[in-house]
Symmetry: D3
């Protein structure tokens, strides 16, 4: 089974799936995290420094470690999602999907007809998937996972509508933005009570819809907690946070 099929199956089965999170535009970083043992590696174009070419160069290094490459695109840049799927990305996370209309626009760019209108030419994805063109056309939509980010009041309100959009495979919660939204800009706190409540709500609605609940967690401890609460696809920390914490730990010993 290819990396794509294994990843999609794992998410369908509901096994906890932890992804590293990369913001630096250096493919060797993504490659190193892919080899470290995470279930996936996510490249963050929204709040990271990684650019289009950095993502393109990272994907084959992640795939060489038999791990799926996931990409979070910038808000609304759906054409970029299409290009990255061509390049071999196994999943797309789209931030700030606030309505069924947003979700449909996302699907239009990430799923092949007849579900969406993703334009044809999976130039790198095809050889990586091991499929013929015909098989990819028939089965590509089942291999590629599409997550809509829910991180505003509006999105929470439209959650069931978003989940009902054909081609949306899961929800990915951004708890920091959600905390700002739910407090009307008063606080950023990914574990605020209102956020916690929303998190459980998202898990419940995803389950009801047969779709994958996903979330970002700043620490491994928090990620484990969220997995226990039902999240299936869980992002953990980031390259910068990992390096910083390891450096601070080393300096603590040096200065200790």
């Amino acid at each position: 089974m290819t990396v794509y099929a294994a990843f999609a199956d794992r998410l369908r089965r509901g096994d906890s799936t932890f992804t590293a999170w990369v913001g630096w535009p250096e493919p060797m970083v993504a490659g190193a995290l892919a080899q470290a043992g995470y279930d996936a590696v996510t490249l963050d174009m929204q709040h990271g420094a990684i650019d289009y070419l950095g993502v393109l160069r990272s994907i084959p290094l992640i795939m060489a470690a038999d791990r799926p490459a996931v990409v979070r695109i910038p808000v609304g840049e759906f054409a970029t999602a299409s290009r990255l799927l061509d390049a071999g990305a196994a999943a797309i996370i789209a931030p700030m999907v606030n309505s069924a209309a947003d979700a449909r626009a996302l699907v239009a760019f990430t799923k092949l007809p007849p579900v969406g209108q993703r334009s044809w030419s999976p130039y790198a994805a095809l050889p990586l998937s091991g499929l013929t063109a015909a098989a990819y056309l028939a089965g590509g939509n089942a291999l590629v996972r599409v997550f809509a980010m829910v991180e505003t009041r509006e999105a929470l309100g439209a959650l069931d509508d978003i989940l009902a959009v054909d081609g949306i495979d899961g929800i990915f919660v951004g708890p920091s933005d959600l905390s700002i939204a739910l407090s009307d800009g008063a606080q950023v706190d990914a574990e605020a009570p209102a956020v916690e409540e929303a998190l459980d709500h998202v898990v419940a609605r995803c389950r009801a819809a047969g779709k994958v609940p996903g979330v970002y967690a700043i620490t491994a401890q928090r990620a484990k907690t969220l997995a226990a609460r039902g999240f299936v696809f869980i992002a953990v920390g980031s390259d910068g946070l990992l390096l910083h914490s390891a450096a601070r730990q080393a300096i603590g010993i040096l200065r200790g």
Copy 2:
């Protein structure tokens, strides 16, 4: 006559014009194909790996070989088209133009006032064109060619409306996407009967409108056939396909 004027004239005259197709973000590849004898070199940002800076670095190498640089932008990224015209691109191919409204949006970003609202500052195009600012303002729209891609049922239905949009200089058919669309997602076959029929229809309507019919062909043989059927601007293969076929040919000899 500059490369720009020669290219626009050639298309106006209806001489078969064959363009190389580049997906790799290495300017030396584009430069090599420009020197090989094609009539133009197209840089594919939609389904290729080439990024913005790769295009910017390729354009002068193509122009140094007295060939026009054409760019296919990602779906809907019209602001990128403006930037690439500033950098010296001679033509823009915009994918998935499905309506007159799409076509007008494309023109807004690619033609100077009063036709469109392309913002002023042809920083590299001006010296490459050899014109004064005033002459470029007056004549730039005639030098720069804009192709709307027709590759869906919707677009085929709106073909005459798209052709009627002032500032659209030609149609470029994407036969693979069109075959998927016309089969409702059932098959990808650039030579399916329904596609062949559509191709002839596009040529006829372009002629009627006095605009340039263009198309993508995967092989030189197919390109020649399509030229014979009336297409004027014809893309042929890609850098990756050329290298792959040459490598397979060499390996055939080596293993033979």
Copy 3:
């Protein structure tokens, strides 16, 4: 006081603030101009060759010289504005803002809730600002300056509406595009009488609204004149123009 606060304060006080203008995607150029003595350095993604990563690598070099980094984004690429604010940009200039709706869309991506919906994660801006996350959430909108470009008839007509949008901190006039627009495409002349009139009008309306009038000037002499006429944030020339004029001056001596 940090660079951000000092820049925002200076603009609020109305002190003439002159920014260098960079189009080349080489961070050392931006760094050199930051050290040369300008009040700010603006990186031009609309009509310059600088790309996303070029901007990201330039910002810390500009900040290391205690100067704010400003970015002009391509038309309508508001998601890019969010990403660049995360990376430490002190201000955004958005071209072709033609209506209050355009201005609101710009603010949505550049101001934090409750003013806008800028997504949270100022990964580089936070350490550069010296603030805690809570303080940045509360005060970030006051640090980051957002300029709407007025460079069409439509925009001039909507000027007061644009100025009334909460989160718009200033207007930046593009005199060349404005001259084309006001002449219906007949001429490009940044000092045409109709432009001059519009410039004074913008200064007056900005003052009335308590917002910052900004403008692009091709020479230092023109910049000084515009400052005297009331503009507060004034861009001067560009890296390419500076190098070209210095080279021509040197060659004049050599050939003299």
Copy 4:
């Protein structure tokens, strides 16, 4: 068996081993050729445009296709050879090795003690080899192949001495340079009679010494001939030559 061991074994067995040849600094080109079916991919830093980082980014893409990455270094840049072995290169080709002293200097940088003095830290080679540090220290020299180029009169005269240097695993003939040398600068002709004679001589002496005879061939046909004459490691053409010939072939059809 890893790629390294399989490559070294294959050369030891004397099976004809054909390598692609890459001059462009774009890793995707090397990756594409690795997938095309060659037995190895060689990155040419001497007469190609590929730089250090281009090589580093190409190696994992070649290895991901289960092919060994070979690097030809610039003349005398032996420290670069060490760095590339750390990065995962499976073999080094060193041009202009004209004496046993040159060969010993090459070995000093490419073989671990006690054979050479290659400095320790195979940071990428270690994980790619699947070995422990101790196993790599003991066995690394047997995995990494080192070719001395013979392409001058002086080198031909010292051939047996060069072959006798412990750590030199093979000879790689540069027929063009050799033809220039043997004609005292009068002609470049890789198939000149004096070159042909020298080629057979090199094969014979390599066999006598139990080392690998290697050679560069400009076409697949020539490569096959040289394999039949006893060469074991044979480089064929280049990325640029492949693309050029495929492009010329396509243009021939288009213009035909």
Copy 5:
């Protein structure tokens, strides 16, 4: 006091000075480690993937955090050392300096006349140092620190001769290579008894010569031990090791 002077003074005083160690060619990594609290950041061109331009782009980010940038060059590439000092490096570590002759060659490229023959043009170092050209010419040698690596039997035997070379400011021990050398290639063990003995010997001889003893340590714990044993300039781990250990720690929690 500038970063240069502070660093040189600190080493002269003998205060334990811990440097981060960077192998990735992404300046943001070096910048992050500079901000994390190490006393210096060393960029490793010998056994890291960082290239010349990566070093040039990292130096200003390290200096912006008020930390000195140190560079380990590849074996014998002394001309690179000159270029990096021009670019602002505060110190050079040269591997495999095995004799007084090697040390003199190193000094020739890293110290200004009359001590060495470093060529003039500290284009970035001059503004970073805050000195006039005259002051830099007079005082530059005292600001820039040059470390000779001792990591072979031959070098240990020549230790006092190397220390006696005017312009050599310190010794930097490579314990892994030294362990290989002292075991005649039998083992790599940075804490082998023979290495431990050599380490104490180097500290003693450096003290006797009034020069700085330096060493590489793979962990913070080991670094602390070596500081306690008298080493003054101590490198700790690497970016790759930090990220890997932090990732493994996180995964341990996730899988725990």
Copy 6:
């Protein structure tokens, strides 16, 4: 006549030839200076930030403006000189050539047999020169100019011996280094009396030997003076100096 032949002829005729000087690794800068009107553009790898790939990308932009690209290599990196000649450089400036032996080593890497041992494969130079392989082999040495830098007492003492080396086409004086050398490290002053005297001496000896006297001048005024004193190939300022002076001039007006 090609750029190569025109440049070599011009130097032979003794016409004053002024070259721009580039240190930034951005090809657009070199391209802009090539278009500005200098007789040549020199890329400075010794004291500039430009790297190997930066040079390779700059050369075709310079040639596209019909100007020869000259490269100053780092001290002693003669293999790099060979690679850059392959890539199309029209001339090499080698710093710190202190003896006839140094000069012969330089020639060995920059002139084809029988004069030197430059290895064959002018992959980009051949098409740029418009010659066949045979013609390039016969005439390439006459097209490519090689300058030995004289900038130490030792070099001055060996001047006639260096000039006598077949394949050395000219001398290039580095006045700053020479001033340091002639003052035994006491001062850097490119116009010190001892330097002035040496400059006239170099011109005289070059003339006597029928070779080209070259020199670096920091300003256009100084360049003109040195041309009047007999120098034929004169470098003027640098990209950084040009930009800085233009920026300071602009700021002078703004603050005036």
